[in-house]
């Protein structure tokens, strides 16, 4: 019946166990030992896989999905259908060769645990995966009063919202998360080298660098390789990314080797987040994710545009949540506070460095402190420039962050509470931080250092009448 592809994963897990074993026995035993080991590992993992597979089962009933598993200790997990927030069908390379897919089912998380619970059904045929996906996400009668005017109730027409342009891959070296890919790969390579027995290690003599030219060349090559790695990493994950709206759901397809198919209900989208790090901002690029209720920490699932020009990101965000308009700046007191906060660490180092210079005549700390304090001024100004808020007719927006700037646009109905914070310093400056509590994304989005007088008008405009309780 079903070929279980877990085998290879388990074989890989056994490798670290076998390598030291081999090191102890010694690979000197010749090829016989190696072949025996290989055969043994394969058989053992096949056995494991078969056992696991035979003890795994699932049923999708009319009200709930039940997954049972476990070798000795049996576990059955029941997920009520109305708690299912999203279904992802993915086909890793091996699965695709065998015509299989892996289905991930996202269930809503409770109020206290922010993480989404996930149920995985691995190794079903593509047709069965498709049937599960379609069946589980069948449109339920919309809960009254929650009908989003943006959701089309028309025929199941598909409308393409975004399509990935391969040229956007060039932004990848500027995004931290993609830069991490080649670095991680190099790290893994070194770890593997460490685990290999000495005889098998490639014999590399220490490279002798002489002169500035060689250093510059080496650094340049490393940078180019890093950038190349980031582009390749981004391409593997995002190749052929396409986002369509179909029958009240957003469907995203992507991936070069592993194809991923993600589906999100439009009804559950409460807002969008457009974020960009320093590098991406410099290049005029950004990424977009949807803030979906009950998705909890499964952020990757909500990604709507992995990488793209800012204009494209803003257009996509505007399609899903109404744009509340130009952001309002925060008061001058906020600018003062941001600059002071950015300069303060440098000043502390300067004072300590001054003491050291006076007592021991050791001045590098003093110089570093002064440099940090000076750098703090532009950083503080940039942090202030990032601050903004605006309440529109049906939505509102807040923006903050310098290293990674995030602009979040939320629907009015998304707000499940308000939190207003004021430290003694903020009280003196006449500002306060307002957090919109939302049952999606990170749980709360803050408008930092709002003028104290603006708090009540903003909360009133950005949520329903109950926010009037805050008014004096």
């Amino acid at each position: 019946m079903l070929v279980h592809t877990v085998t290879f994963k388990q074989a890989r897990q056994l490798v670290p166990v076998v390598l030291p074993l081999g090191a102890v026995i010694g690979f000197d035993g010749g090829t016989t030992t190696v072949v025996l080991l290989a055969v043994g590992v394969t058989l053992a993992s096949l056995g494991f896989a078969a056992l696991n597979w035979s003890r795994f089962g699932y049923t999708d009933g009319p009200t709930a999905v039940v997954v049972t598993r476990g070798l000795l200790a049996r576990s059955a997990r029941t997920v009520p259908r109305d708690r299912i927030r999203g279904v992802e069908v993915e086909g890793p390379l091996l699965h695709r060769l065998l015509g299989l897919v892996r289905v991930r089912i996202d269930a809503a998380a409770g109020a206290t645990t922010a993480e989404g619970e996930e149920v995985v059904v691995d190794g079903v045929t593509r047709a069965e995966g498709e049937r599960l996906r379609a069946g589980l996400l069948q449109r339920r009668p919309a809960p009254d009063g929650a009908v989003d005017p943006a959701a089309p109730e028309a025929a199941p027409a598909t409308e393409e919202l975004a399509r990935f342009d391969p040229r956007w891959l060039l932004y990848a070296p500027l995004a931290g998360s993609y830069l991490a890919v080649p670095v991680a790969a190099v790290g893994a390579l070194f770890r593997l080298l460490d685990e290999l027995p000495r005889q098998l290690r490639p014999d590399v003599d220490g490279v002798h660098l002489t002169g500035w030219l060689a250093v510059v060349l080496a650094v340049g090559t490393a940078l180019v390789l890093l950038a190349l790695g980031a582009v390749i990493g981004a391409a593997v994950v995002n190749w052929g990314f396409r986002l369509v709206r179909r029958d009240g759901a957003l469907v995203a397809d992507r991936g070069l080797v592993t194809r991923r198919h993600t589906e999100l209900e439009v009804d559950r989208i409460r807002g969008v987040s457009v974020s960009a790090g320093l590098g991406l901002r410099w290049a005029g690029a950004a990424r977009v994710s949807a803030l979906v209720t009950g998705l909890g920490a499964a952020q990757r699932r909500g990604q709507l545009l992995p990488l793209g020009p800012r204009a494209e990101a803003d257009r996509l965000a505007g399609l899903l949540v109404e744009d509340p308009g130009e952001l309002r700046r925060h008061p001058a007191a906020a600018r003062r506070r941001q600059v002071v906060r950015s300069v303060a660490p440098g000043l502390v180092v300067t004072v300590v460095g001054g003491a050291l210079a006076a007592l021991l005549g050791w001045w590098p700390a003093l110089a570093a402190g002064l440099g940090l304090a000076l750098l703090g001024v532009p950083v503080g100004l940039a942090r202030y420039a990032a601050l903004g808020h605006r309440a529109g007719a049906r939505s509102f927006a807040v923006r903050s962050g310098w290293l990674v700037q995030e602009q979040v646009v939320l629907q009015r109905r998304a707000v499940v509470g308000w939190q207003v914070r004021q430290s003694p310093f903020q009280r003196r400056a006449g500002v306060a931080t307002v957090v919109a509590c939302v049952g999606a994304g990170s749980g709360g989005y803050a408008a930092v250092d709002l003028a104290a007088g603006d708090v009540v008008p903003f909360t009133r405009a950005a949520s329903e009448e109950w926010a009037g309780t805050l008014a004096p």
């Binding site: 430290s423 509590c437 049952g439 309780t469 805050l470």
Partner: protein, 170 residues
């Protein structure tokens, strides 16, 4: 309160019972005793002749005295003056903190669960904490140190009303 002039939002209407002050004072006393024991042990066991630790015999007691004054003499009273709460027909509203103040407002329609907890000290003073939870991890209204009877009553009342008006709650 001196800060009402620049307060960004309204103060909730109801204060905490005065027993809350006694509880915070007790907590301050316990904290002071704990640090005093730590200090005595440190003075007895550590060599205090060397340069970095030579300040301990006079700086330790001074810091301890400062901590005692703040934790026993100041903080409970400031907290009592700051902390307020209110349940309106539409929402639950609370103000907490002592230096940094936090106002939290949650509409009844978005309440998911209401918890009542009673710590050991709270039981001694007949107090309880009410926590109103929503779908957001940050949107929790926590009212500490209400009289146990009131807390119980508020919790049942809120849970019942939340059931009646609940929309999607997310």
């Amino acid at each position: 309160m001196t800060a009402t002039g620049s307060a960004p939002v309204r103060e909730p209407a109801w204060p905490l019972p005065r027993a809350a002050i006694r509880l915070w004072v007790t907590q301050g006393v316990i904290g002071t005793v704990f640090w005093a024991v730590v200090l005595v042990l440190a003075l007895a066991l550590l060599p205090t002749d060397d340069a970095p630790l030579s300040a301990l015999p006079w700086a330790g007691p001074a810091l301890l005295a400062l901590y005692a004054v703040v934790a026993i003499g100041l903080q409970p009273w400031i907290r009592f003056r700051v902390h307020r709460w209110e349940v309106t027909p539409e929402a639950v509203y609370a103000l907490t903190g002592w230096l940094t103040r936090t106002w939290t407002l949650v509409p009844i329609a978005r309440i998911q669960t209401v918890d009542v907890t009673r710590g050991v000290l709270q039981q001694a003073y007949g107090l309880a904490t009410v926590a109103v939870l929503t779908a957001s991890s940050q949107g929790t209204v926590r009212v500490p140190h209400l009289p146990a009877g009131v807390a119980e009553q508020v919790a049942t009342d809120l849970a019942r009303r939340a059931e009646q008006v609940r929309d999607e709650a997310t």
